[in-house]
């Protein structure tokens, strides 16, 4: 670059510093805590705890057995962070988790599914603070909301409308009672109980989540949405989501997350399974904005999620879009198993790490079927002391002839204390497939800021504009409802006091 390094523009340099200071000073905007009485299990994990959860949820015997099997698998598994250094692959650092200190079940007491009037007013107040007024959404937004407060679904809307076209959308526990054959057929078929340490833990102790079934040939008439929210201190959240799209169907699913400010590290180990049969399409969008911890990195959510979709049928498609701005540690790799011929997998991601946040995220594209295609676009932004890792696997298996992958990972560094890392793993086992991977690292140039300043934009606006432009390829993949929220969120994450 040829910018006058010897005589840097004083305002620009000063403004940059100011902006950085503001990052440091920003507080968690969604930080509040709702005082709701919880019917919690005592801390600790044992067969008894699992039996307690299963009994509370009035589950059939086969599910309890399934949980116990997962628990015994988990006991034999090794905590991935306790491995010796040369055997560790993830770039996340956190103290050892005491699984016996976590309470594995917490349900809000006043549960009602009949009408909103019966929902705990405090919960409704919480949603209102977050800008999710259920009663208004019902009428205005056309979004069906299955709101999960801690672990039990407290309200489900639009169920009737969806039921007309045969769509099943509701809490996981309801699905277990009402559609056990579907749940039993697909549960654990994409993420087996012993898949990894946290998936095994989830399988043993998951409390609730969402279940979606789209029947053959049905195009879901609205975006399905679940707002997750972590509440009650020391309660790990173990959600389980299962979405099955039958032949020729289509569904777009939105998942948004916010959490109240707490000083305890909260473990979140969710599992999301997607199944797309022949010609089916699933679009899964996530905005994650959990509490990232304070400036010194104290507190904050540990977000260890297993998300995987199976394109079982020919010409099926699964598309993941995620905007990750929260959590102290984000550790997740939404993946696609492209089993069907001509199936398509997509992954669009924006991950922001600021403060002392750590993110080790990316995707896995496992090509098994012929002429399968995958696209990966990842944008990582690091500021302050944030560490941002893209880790992605692309595998072309032997039968996946004529398959293609294109991966692009761009990183942006803001400030000189952060880190941006790219770790792709590429495996090709047949000669007719093509894999392309590109990655670049850049920063917001002083010349870019100067250019904007010169045209009357403040440094903060300039940063926000440049960052939004940097992420545009991903943000445009989000459904409308989310795109607005995501742009706002990036603003909040990176503009400090502005926004």
């Amino acid at each position: 670059m040829t910018e006058p390094a010897a005589t840097p523009a004083p305002e620009a340099a000063l403004s940059d510093t100011e902006v950085l200071e503001q990052f440091a000073q920003r507080d968690y905007k969604e930080g509040f805590y709702t005082d709701v009485e919880s019917d919690s299990a005592p801390p600790g994990l044992s067969e008894e705890t699992i039996a307690f959860i299963s009994k509370k949820k009035q589950e059939p015997a086969w599910l309890l057995e399934w949980r116990l099997k997962a628990y015994h698998t988990w006991l034999k598994m090794e905590d991935p962070t306790q491995r010796p250094a040369p055997e560790q692959w993830a770039m996340v650092h956190y103290p050892k988790i005491d699984y016996q200190a976590i309470s594995y079940f917490s349900a809000p007491k006043k549960v009602s599914l009949d009408s909103l009037d019966q929902v705990d007013p405090e919960i409704l107040a919480t949603y209102n603070k977050l800008g999710i007024p259920l009663e208004e959404q019902k009428m205005l937004s056309g979004v069906a909301v299955d709101a999960v407060f801690d672990s039990v679904s407290v309200a489900t809307t639009f169920k009737d409308k969806l039921a007309e076209v045969g769509i099943i959308f509701g809490s996981f526990s309801d699905a277990v009672k009402q559609h056990p054959e579907l749940v039993r057929k697909y549960l654990g078929s994409v993420v087996p109980t012993g898949d990894n340490y946290y998936a095994a833990l989830n399988s043993a102790v998951f409390t609730d989540g969402s279940f979606v079934y789209i029947p053959e040939g049905v195009r879901c008439p609205m975006e399905l949405s679940t707002y997750f929210r972590i509440n009650a201190a020391n309660t790990g959240q173990f959600e389980r989501t299962l979405i099955v799209a039958d032949k020729g169907s289509y569904v777009s699913y939105l998942e948004g997350c916010t959490a109240p400010m707490r000083d305890e590290n909260q473990l979140h180990a969710a599992v999301v399974e997607l199944v797309a049969l022949e010609d089916a399409k699933i679009k899964y969008s996530t905005i994650q904005n959990w509490y990232p911890g304070n400036k010194e990195g104290v507190g904050g959510i540990y977000n260890f999620v297993t998300k995987r979709g199976a394109c079982r049928g020919d010409r099926s498609k699964i598309s993941w879009t995620q905007v990750e701005t929260g959590s102290a540690i984000t550790w997740k790799y939404p993946s696609c198993i492209l089993q069907g011929d001509d199936s398509v997998g997509e992954f669009y991601s924006v991950a922001v790490t600021s403060g002392r946040q750590q993110a080790d995220t990316g995707t896995k594209m496992i090509h098994l079927g012929r002429n399968t295609k995958s696209t990966v676009i990842s944008k990582g932004i690091s500021a302050m002391n944030g560490q941002n890792v893209y880790r992605g696997a692309v595998q072309m298996q032997k039968r996946a002839t004529g398959s293609r992958n294109f991966t692009q990972c761009d990183s942006m560094l803001i400030g000189d204390q952060c880190g941006a890392h790219t770790f792709p793993y590429i495996t090709v086992r047949n000669p007719s497939s093509t894999v392309e991977h590109e990655a670049s690292t850049s920063k917001i140039g002083e010349d870019q800021i100067f250019y904007c300043n010169q045209r009357g934009l403040s440094t903060e606006d300039a940063v926000s504009m440049i960052v939004n432009g940097f992420c545009k390829e991903v943000l445009k993949e989000l459904p409308m409802e989310f795109a607005v929220e995501a742009t706002k969120l990036l603003g909040i994450s990176l503009e400090g006091s502005v926004g």
Binding site: P86, E87, S411, L413, P424, R429, T434, E436, H437, A439
Partner: protein, 446 residues
């Protein structure tokens, strides 16, 4: 910990035997290094399949079971080494048989001004300080078990020093030949290029037999002084059954220019760890590599470029043409420290799969802690461009010949980067012969 305690205790016992046979040599500074190394080996063990650094190469064939160190060199004739020597280079030549210096086949007299070559077993005057100052000076972590194994059992090696400001026109050739004696051989090379010097070193690993049961654990250390220009070429021409675990460690001072070329042309399992540390400012560092595995070969190039100081640039290009059931692995890491502002780094890995049963693993990595940098990498894997093939065939070029032309052009980019014409022609011949074999190896008939 080490999966295989028997292996380590086997090496520990072998070390005791080795030590007892050293007689007075056990008090030398070199032996102190060996002791440190065996202690480290006992502490960390050798890599296991669980190591992240060995994700795509199962180290078991190299690391499980103790390979008894080869204690006496086999016979080697001038005739036997002829194919491995660059005849066009009439410069210094050091020949090692099973890790031991063979003065009769080497050319170490009438050296150009400013260059000294010695063998580790018979160091010349003044080189003792160089050895104690530079040999095994780097601290290697637990994942470098094979470098520790080499150091523990090193008996001989090549020491090349270039005086400050001196230019050595002819490349220095170092030839490590295995005579086929089963067991562990430990070739070692130390190159110290003083400030402002220019030199080129060519290391060839070769075998006069198929190399069954031979494990070569090699280490080369290169110290590039301020403003020095060093080119290092490694040619792997092992036997078809040979196993090799090599380490190349380079330290560069400010304004240095270093280029490494690695040609993996033959060997059953070839693992090369290349680690270069850019310690001063304004360094330009280049790593080039070409792998041509076939049959059941497995090649793993594991490279790390560490930018410690600001204003340096690095370039990396590794290519692979893979035939048969062979497996080509590349891991390249660009590690930019926080102080290394204004780093300009580019890394590229390109592969051509020529058979249905071949496999590649590519892990190009960026680990960046500085914000004002320009770092990027790319990795592509595929097959020959069908349009280019069609173009040639439409002009009457047969399919096999067209494939040959295009793969030669693909591989040729790396051969062309060699500076010395004689060396370039030598490598071109070797690459061409090997490529024919790779193209002919279609793996198992379907």
């Amino acid at each position: 910990m080490a999966a295989d305690n028997d292996t380590i205790s086997g090496y520990a016992a072998a070390f005791e035997g080795f030590e007892a046979a050293l007689n007075g040599g056990a008090r030398s500074p070199l032996h102190a290094r060996r002791r440190e190394a065996i202690a480290r080996l006992q502490e960390h063990g050798l890599p296991t399949a669980r190591f992240e650094a060995w994700r795509h190469t199962n180290p078991a064939p190299l690391a499980s079971g103790c390979f008894a160190p080869v204690m006496t060199a086999g016979k080697l004739s001038a005739e036997a080494i002829r194919p491995f020597v660059v005849s066009a280079i009439d410069g210094p030549l050091l020949v090692f048989a099973d890790g031991q210096f063979v003065p009769g086949l080497s050319r170490v007299s009438d050296l150009p001004d400013g260059v000294q070559v010695h063998s580790l077993s018979a160091p010349g005057s003044g080189t003792a300080a160089i050895i104690s100052g530079n040999l095994a000076a780097l601290t290697l972590g637990a994942e470098h078990g094979f470098a520790a194994l080499n150091t523990a059992f090193v008996r001989d090696g090549a020491i090349v020093t270039i005086n400050a400001g001196c230019t050595v026109d002819l490349p220095v050739q170092i030839l490590h030949v295995s005579t086929g004696q089963a067991g562990l051989t430990t070739p070692r090379t130390l190159v110290v290029a003083a400030a402002g010097s220019r030199a080129s070193v060519v290391e060839t690993f070769a075998s006069t037999t198929s190399g069954a049961g031979v494990l070569t654990s090699s280490v080369a250390e290169i110290v590039v002084g301020a403003g020095a220009v060093v080119e290092h070429t490694r040619i792997h021409l092992h036997g078809a059954e040979s196993l090799h675990a090599g380490t190349l460690h380079v330290t560069e001072a400010q304004d240095a220019r270093f280029t490494a070329h690695t040609f993996c042309l033959a060997g059953r399992i070839l693992r090369e760890d290349v680690h270069t540390v850019l310690r001063g400012e304004h360094i330009e560092s280049t790593l080039n590599g070409l792998s041509l595995p076939l049959g059941d070969d497995h090649v793993d190039n594991y490279t790390t470029i560490e930018h410690v100081a600001p204003d340096c640039s690095s370039h990396e290009l590794y290519k692979g043409v893979v035939g048969g059931r062979a497996h080509n692995v590349f891991r390249g890491k660009i590690h930019v420290h926080q102080a290394a502002q204004r780093t300009d780094a580019y890394q590229s890995n390109q592969n051509l799969l020529m058979s249905d049963d071949a496999e590649i693993n590519s892990k190009p990595q960026l680990e960046i802690y500085a914000d004002d940098v320009k770092c990027s990498h790319g990795s592509t894997t595929g097959q020959l461009d069908p349009d280019a093939l069609f173009y040639l065939r439409a002009r009457g070029v047969g399919l096999q010949q067209a494939r040959g032309v295009l793969t030669r052009a693909f591989a040729g980019e790396l051969v062309d980067r060699l500076q010395h014409e004689g060396l370039r022609n030598h490598v071109e011949r070797l690459v061409s012969t090997r490529l024919d074999a790779v193209l002919a190896d279609q793996g198992e008939a379907r």
